[in-house]
């Protein structure tokens, strides 16, 4: 039974040039059980990306700790796959070599690697693009490859840092459905950071809202919409009710964040 425990994790960045230190994240606690899909929703600068980076092991907490399956996280590892907002495919590798990167690093034999890569190419619908360079792909295709690359490693948890933030609205909708489809079959833990309320509700089983800087968890809202979810659910009354509720919660934080700047 996998479980992620974020235990009183806070992050303070030291002041630049003798300035005051900045608190990006106030001590935050959150437990993510197996199979849970959690959206983290908040205004920009609320520390949601910082929290995700700490779980990934790319940043370290100033206080508190993150424990995955009873083991404290001390650095990045292949048990936590991550998809970034910026396009981070390795430009010198083809789509299939990008997806197989982690497997090669693990020393998975080539035959097995090929099979796994082909499987994920199918799942993210990139058939026919195996030999393309990242430069030749659209933004949506690059992020699909990045998701496949993270999943091919078979991580316990998938960390998504606004992965669809740079995509146009239509592509973003399709990507949400694809991600949800994969999750409905694979049932991995997912932490999904976004500032898009509709997106946060549609994909998640729980939405965690965060307050403006310094960030902390403001509320945890369960999303009791049935699976499999179809995009038409976005126009259902239940969805609208959740959207209104979260809009209210985030709006006050967004106003606070705007006033600070």
């Amino acid at each position: 039974m996998s479980e992620l425990v974020i235990d009183g994790v806070g992050r303070t960045f030291p002041g630049v040039r003798g300035g005051k230190p900045t608190t990006a994240l106030q001590p935050t606690s959150l437990t993510v059980p197996e199979n849970d899909f959690v959206s983290i929703l908040g205004p920009s600068g609320c520390g949601k990306s910082t929290l995700l980076r700490i779980v990934a092991g790319l940043d370290h907490p100033s206080v508190g700790k993150v424990v995955l399956d009873g083991r404290e996280i001390r650095g990045p590892g292949s048990d936590r796959g991550m998809v970034f907002q910026s396009y981070t495919l390795f430009p010198w590798l083809t789509v299939e070599d990008n997806i197989g990167f982690g497997l090669r690093e693990k020393g998975v034999p080539e035959n097995e690697r090929r099979e796994i890569v082909a499987d994920y190419i199918d799942r993210v619908g990139l058939h026919g693009f195996e030999r393309h360079w990242p430069k030749q792909l659209s933004g949506g295709m690059q992020q699909r490859t990045a998701i496949a690359r993270a999943l091919a490693n078979n991580p316990k948890i998938l960390l998504l840092d606004e992965p669809f933030g740079a995509l146009d609205n239509q592509t973003r909708g399709l990507m949400q459905e694809m991600l949800l489809g994969i999750w409905e079959r694979e049932h991995k833990m997912v932490l999904f950071v976004t500032h898009d309320i509709e997106e946060a509700i549609f994909v998640a089983s729980r939405v965690v809202t965060m307050s403006a800087r310094p960030g902390r968890v403001k509320s945890i809202v369960p999303v009791d919409l049935p699976y499999p979810r179809h995009y038409t659910i976005k126009s259902s009354p239940e969805f609208s009710a959740l959207r209104s509720q979260l809009t209210e919660e985030i709006r006050s934080e967004a106003i606070l964040a705007a006033q600070e700047q």
Binding site: R80, M82, P91, E105, A146
Partner: protein, 258 residues
């Protein structure tokens, strides 16, 4: 026509490029045939071609060219072979950077040509001395340029590799090196161009073969046509090696242009 970055056709590009060469030779011809410049100091284009033919057919100039090319390529290859790994290490590991960066930045400004008298004392006037001049000229430059490229590797690519389970060694081998290979190749191309300057300086003093040796000999004979021919040969070889380097880079790093 003068809208910034407005593209032009292939034909126009070639016409303009060749046209400027024609203009240059025409200007040169006017200055020499027109009697504006004394023949003693500047040969006209036809004399230059005749002198060139004389050098190639009578004086075994091809051997000199081959010697010079060998020296440049040899000295440059040795410098690159040692400097590229040092540069990668310097760009990757901060303690190595802290240790070497000040010294290499200082050494880079030591003029290779000023080492020629010293190197003659140390290594005589044989091939070792010629190779050493080029080595000194290229070595520190390559280190700094490679370290600069590697140090500027996109951090998000490094982070992505870490989240995919890459080890510290894996980051160097499978991210830093391939990510910077095109920049490193481009740096080598530039430094090879500079190496041509150093080799001629090395050959001007204490050499018995090479393009530079021919040039300094021709000066004693006031044969400006031969000197100019030698300079033009260097220019042409530079152009060819540059084109070859570019073609190999484009072929190796097609992912950049795709």
């Amino acid at each position: 026509m003068f809208r910034p970055f407005q593209p032009i056709g292939y034909g126009t590009r070639v016409l303009l490029g060749v046209g400027f060469f024609v203009f240059f030779v025409a200007f040169w011809s006017l200055a020499t045939f027109g009697g504006f410049v004394s023949r003693t100091f500047l040969a006209d284009p036809l004399t230059m071609v005749a002198d060139g033919w004389y050098l190639l057919s009578q004086r075994g100039f091809l051997y000199d060219i081959a010697m010079t090319v060998w020296r440049v390529v040899g000295g440059f290859a040795i410098a690159a072979l040692i400097a590229v790994p040092i540069g990668i290490a310097m760009g990757t590991y901060k303690p190595i950077e802290a240790m070497l960066e000040p010294f290499v930045s200082f050494a880079r400004y030591l003029p290779a040509s000023a080492f020629v008298p010293l190197l003659i004392l140390w290594a005589g006037i044989g091939e070792t001395q010629k190779l050493l001049v080029i080595f000194i000229g290229a070595f520190f430059q390559i280190i700094l340029m490679v370290a600069g490229s590697v140090g500027n590797t996109r951090r998000d690519l490094v982070e992505a590799a870490y989240t995919l389970g890459a080890t510290d060694r894996g980051i160097v081998r499978r991210v830093l090196m391939p990510a910077n290979a095109p920049d490193i190749a481009e740096s080598l191309r530039l430094v090879l161009g500079w190496a041509w300057t150093y080799v001629i300086v090395a050959e001007l003093i204490g050499a018995s073969s090479g393009i530079g040796y021919m040039i300094i000999n021709s000066q004693a004979l006031m044969a400006t046509g031969q000197i100019i021919f030698g300079i033009i040969v260097i220019g042409i070889i530079g152009l060819i090696s540059d084109a070859l380097f570019k073609a190999v880079n484009q072929w190796l790093f097609s992912w950049r242009l795709a």
